[in-house]
């Protein structure tokens, strides 16, 4: 098990290099440089000379492989560089500032999705074609097909404008500093309700469908029949024997959704004015802020690789049949 993990980690290094090189190349291939945008206002008459100064300052005048090498050597020392944006702050600081809220939102969202999707999936599988199955199927597909910005706006209009029960956007009220501790917390939670509902609604469909499918396959297996034949209660058959096996594919999907946890949803973050990772990344792309884009990509790439590894290892834990490294 340990050697397997180590080997996987070693293999991950060239993979990571490849990913970073490709992303670096692609980003620099995209037309338009940060300096074009900074000096892109005709009123300024920012001369060619001014642009050249900016390019030198950011090292954009060097050939791309030189730029990549210097970026890589800094990365090895965990120096992600400084943002090209006028605040010139270290990339890691910018990410660290945005990460907590995105993580919080996405973890809560994921937990809610699991808590809802697993029972929905199990119930609609065990009562296939029942009314419950049909209703949840329709509901879940509506969720899947609803554009989240549209749902967000409708909910904002209803709960924010018409009823006035919930705040519309942002993370805190404007008088937050003057609230008591507990009011601050409830204010914060109130701000998170709508974004989480919107994000969950869309994500629920996939998960509950996977769960249903997986469960349907499992309940047809012979060991389930034998469990029933043993005279076990239906609750035990489904809840213990079937569910544990049906969870296997879900583990993979969960693993794959880990990197998404820090990616953040651009649409939800923009429409609810939540300063998270999604907004940071999109702005960086529009401004061609290469260090921030690359910093983000590296972190997501590392997380994806780690998540894959964890998923593979977790398989072994959940399912003895695919336990590696134990040959007899």
């Amino acid at each position: 098990m340990l050697t397997y993990a180590l080997r996987r980690i070693l293999f991950a290094i060239p993979l990571l290099l490849g990913i970073t090189f490709l992303s670096f190349a692609i980003i620099h291939l995209a037309p338009g440089e940060p300096t074009d945008l900074m000096a892109g206002d005709p009123r300024l008459e920012a001369s060619a000379q001014a642009r050249q100064l900016l390019r030198e300052m950011y090292g954009l005048d060097k050939p791309i492989h030189v730029q990549y090498w210097s970026w890589l050597t800094r990365l090895v020392r965990l120096d992600f560089g400084r943002s090209f944006s006028p605040d010139g702050r270290p990339v890691l600081v910018k990410i660290a500032e945005r990460l907590p809220v995105t993580l919080l939102l996405n973890i809560v969202e994921l937990l809610i999705i699991i808590a809802l999707a697993v029972p929905i999936g199990v119930l609609s599988a065990t009562r296939q074609y029942s009314l419950f199955d049909k209703v949840t199927t329709v509901f879940v597909f509506i969720g899947f097909a609803t554009p989240d910005f549209w749902l967000a706006l409708l909910l904002m209009i209803l709960f924010g404008v018409q009823l006035g029960w919930l705040p519309i956007s942002g993370l805190r009220s404007m008088n937050w500093e003057y609230l008591s501790f507990w009011h601050q917390q409830s204010d914060f939670v109130a701000h998170l309700v709508l974004p989480i509902v919107v994000a969950t609604f869309g994500g629920l469909a996939g998960f509950s469908r996977y769960m249903r499918q997986s469960m349907l396959e499992v309940v047809r297996q012979e060991y389930i029949q034998s469990a029933r034949a043993k005279g076990l209660a239906e609750r035990v058959v489904i809840g213990k024997h079937a569910l544990r096996n049906a969870m296997l594919p879900i583990v993979t999907i969960l693993g794959l959704s880990l990197p998404g946890l820090i990616g953040g949803s651009v649409i939800v973050e923009s429409i609810f004015a939540i300063p998270g990772m999604g907004q940071l990344m999109v702005q960086a792309v529009f401004e061609r802020d290469y260090p921030v884009i690359m910093g983000n990509l590296v972190i997501v790439a590392v997380l994806t690789l780690v998540a894959n590894l964890i998923a593979d290892l977790a398989y072994g834990l959940v399912d003895p049949r695919i336990r590696v490294g134990r040959r007899r």
């Binding site: 100064l53 900016l54 605040d87 010139g88 945005r98 209009i157 519309i168 004015a273 998270g276």
Partner: protein, 551 residues
């Protein structure tokens, strides 16, 4: 060139969602009536900003949000009044030598930086040094590079000499002044971006002091008790809330979550006419200092023919564009200057909408429908071209569509393409790799159009995108830059305006209206050609209407 809002599609979605709201016409947008209408200090003004604030030293930033915030924290030697006239700010007065090369400023004596240190001529010299330092990442260098010498004669007198007479000399000193005692070492090392003043503790001389910046969320400013104008400002706190979606900003307005925001034409016309909104907000409408235009690539032999440009101009019904695209909330543009501005020539008319004349002109230029398929041909080739515009700007896309339909009528085959902003600039505009495009210009405060229409400005990095060359215009623009007397400059620009309207290197379409909504609590908002923000420090909320007591 201006960039459109990123999330234009979202605005449309909200428009659809809100179309059911009641409509009430009649009654003016007026502030709430109260008994005691005397100016009072206090309250918070929450402004919605669609763009992120990127830096707190605006001299090195170029996004409008950073300049909005910076404009309250810092001041220049001069500023603009409601009619965009240059007036003193940190300067008390100024004099020009008759040859326009020497400019002398006398500075106010009672001005202190937010940290208590006095503001002196030395700081102005420092700001100049910062702007011309090659290590300063600023896009505003050019104006200051024109200075030959700058000298602090005494702490409150400044002597500036220009290499040649420079028309923009005076207005260039509206640049934000920076404190030498805090920034000198950062400036010398070229590390201005990393200075704490750029992130956590900016120090200026403006009416507001910095309190807090939560990246991507908000910037908070509080009134400066030491501001050099006694008893100003009135409003105690400004919060800039960063909300990247136009639709969300509008919903926040409806829920009274923000006190000031810009409306879209659709919101102004169709979604804010109901009584509750009219009671809560004062809406304003004034011509924004921008122009939307259609540009030709004059390197293309087809468009090099003036008759063809005239024909296309005759085929575009500007009033129809204004009515349909921005619901009538704009003004017909005859040139690059706003009606009423001193450089604007009121006698210039735009070409009338006249399809018959357009057809005649095209026929004269050799474009005829030879095979009766409805499309014009010349030398066996059909008149086909492409109109580009930037992605995410619905308004410009609609303009392009209407123009496409109008030109189809004439027998021109037009395709449309929307391109991402940076790509459009780099691959098409810079390389002059286009037939025609629809974009907008922010007009700036000075009427000098050298960058846009002088024949020397046609290299890839320049902005004479139409590749326009006219010796008379070149001469007029040069003379307009070389004098500091406004009435003399006005003569030159009136003539430039006239020539451009006849040569049509670009078709100026319209000046769209700015449509801000400001909470009805606030008094003292006076819309004018200069906008509404020029007198923000005079705004106040009568005591009984104040909403936020804390701070």
């Amino acid at each position: 060139m201006e960039r459109g809002p990123l999330l234009g599609g979202l605005a449309l979605a909200s428009a659809l969602a809100l179309a059911g709201c009641g409509v009430d016409r009649g009654g003016a947008d007026e502030p709430v009536a109260v008994k005691d209408n005397t100016p009072a200090k206090g309250d918070t003004f929450i402004e919605a900003s669609i763009g992120n604030v990127s830096a707190l030293i605006p001299n090195i930033a170029n996004d409008s949000a950073s300049h909005d915030v910076g404009g309250q924290i810092y001041s220049g030697l001069v500023t603009y009044d409601k009619d965009l006239k240059v007036i003193p700010e940190l300067a008390e007065s100024w004099t020009f030598s008759p040859d326009c090369r020497h400019l002398t400023f006398r500075l106010r004596k009672n001005v202190r930086w937010h940290d208590g240190k006095p503001f002196t001529a030395d700081d102005v010299v420092f700001t100049h040094a910062t702007m011309v330092n090659p290590k300063t990442p600023t896009a505003y260098r050019e104006d200051f590079a024109a200075v030959e010498t700058i000298e602090a004669v005494d702490p409150h007198t400044l002597q500036i000499t220009y290499k040649t007479p420079y028309a923009k000399a005076l207005q260039s000193w509206s640049m934000y002044m920076l404190p030498r005692h805090l920034l000198e070492s950062y400036m010398k090392d070229g590390k201005l971006r990393e200075a704490p003043q750029n992130r956590t503790s900016p120090v200026g001389t403006g009416p507001y002091r910095f309190k807090e910046w939560k990246s991507g969320e908000k910037v908070v400013l509080v009134a400066n008790p030491d501001y050099y104008e006694p008893d100003r400002p009135y409003i105690s706190r400004i919060v800039y809330r960063i909300i990247p979606s136009q639709a969300t900003i509008f919903l926040e307005l409806k829920a009274k979550g923000v006190d000031g925001a810009s409306l879209t034409a659709l919101q102004y016309k169709r979604q804010t006419e109901y009584p509750a909104f009219r009671k809560a907000y004062q809406r304003f409408r004034y011509a924004s200092n921008s122009v939307t235009y259609f540009a030709f690539n004059m390197k293309d032999p087809r468009f090099a023919d003036k008759r063809v440009r005239h024909a296309i101009a005759h085929a575009i019904n500007k009033q129809e564009l204004i009515d349909h695209v921005i619901l009538g909330l704009g003004r017909n543009a005859t040139g690059p200057y706003l009606p009423g501005a001193w450089a604007h020539n009121g006698e210039v008319k735009s070409l009338p909408y006249d399809l018959a004349r357009a057809r005649r002109l095209l026929a004269e230029a050799g474009w005829r429908d030879r095979d009766a398929d409805g499309f014009l041909l010349k030398d066996g080739k059909p008149f086909a071209f492409e109109i580009l515009t930037n992605q995410g700007n619905d308004e410009r896309k609609k303009i392009a569509e209407i123009i496409q339909a109008a030109l189809r009528e004439l027998g021109l085959k037009v395709d449309l393409r929307t391109v991402e902003w940076a790509t459009l600039l780099k691959e098409h505009v810079r390389k002059r790799n286009f037939d025609a495009f629809v974009l907008g210009w922010g007009l700036g405060r000075d009427p000098d159009m050298t960058a846009l229409f002088h024949s020397s400005k046609t290299r890839p990095e320049d902005f004479n995108v139409a590749s326009y060359a006219n010796a008379e215009v070149d001469g007029l623009l040069e003379r307009g830059r070389a004098t500091c007397f406004q009435d003399e400059r006005a003569k030159y620009y009136h003539r430039v305006h006239e020539i451009l309207a006849d040569d049509i290197p670009v078709i100026f379409l319209y000046h769209r209206d700015a449509l801000p909504a400001i909470t009805a609590r606030v008094r003292g908002v006076k819309p004018s050609p200069g906008g509404i923000m020029y007198n923000f420090h005079e705004w106040f909320v009568p005591r009984e209407l104040q909403r936020y007591t804390a701070g």
